[in-house]
Symmetry: C2
Subunit: 119 residues, 2 copies
Amino acid sequence: MAINDVECCETFHTHEHLLNQVNENMPDEDELYDLAELFKVFGDSTRIRILFVLFEAEVCVCDLAQALNMTQSAISHQLKLLKQNKLVKSRREGKSVFYSLADGHVRTIIAQGREHIEE
Amino acid sequence: MAINDVECCETFHTHEHLLNQVNENMPDEDELYDLAELFKVFGDSTRIRILFVLFEAEVCVCDLAQALNMTQSAISHQLKLLKQNKLVKSRREGKSVFYSLADGHVRTIIAQGREHIEE
DNA sequence: TAAACATATGAACAAATGCTCATATGTTTA
DNA sequence: TAAACATATGAGCATTTGTTCATATGTTTA
């Protein structure tokens, strides 16, 4: 009896190779964690709204706060998260800091998400 | 003075059209909420692991629990969430319920996420 | 039909999360 | 250099979330 054939419905031991196949293609723990962290960032409507603004233009924190009708602090906290996960990048110009999209994956991921919910 | 030119850093009133452009392309509140809800589902490593198993095969709850070394209850709760968001579908066969991927967006979204974190 | 098996679900609890408030840091200007 | 402006950040609080435990529901079999 294989090591993974513990009590379970009958289907499992008929697919002994399944566990191996799963383990082969399953990313390691670190990547799974990072993946989940990344999608968590997309999992908040405030951050999604920020990204939609950045789809249009590079804007400063103050503009974002005003465009989304939220406090500067709230926006700044969220921008930090977005930046940590490399969804946005920033550039200082005098007193202001301008934020913009970091790369194209952001658009693709959100586009796929929109496609999915519109079926 | 335009209606949105309240106190803010000087950049904003020089881009009066920005707010309009943002508002035009910003999805409505409901879609933003749904989008965030969808990505929240991807934002947990247990659910991501479930999806990776389903990338390989259609499996029953018990097999999932065993493959991921988690309780049947925990898996079942997460499957409910995945199903509510139409990432997986299910089919009963006797005592067992088999789960599989609902559509291709799941693979695309996760693939894009992996690409993003591997730069 | 009773027992066994497979899955689903509600309640509860600890951990994580998003916002607010106060304040710190960084930059420009008077 | 002091004041004003723009942004960042830590603490606190209410809400959300993922798991466990107990148990309910659904299906098959003896």
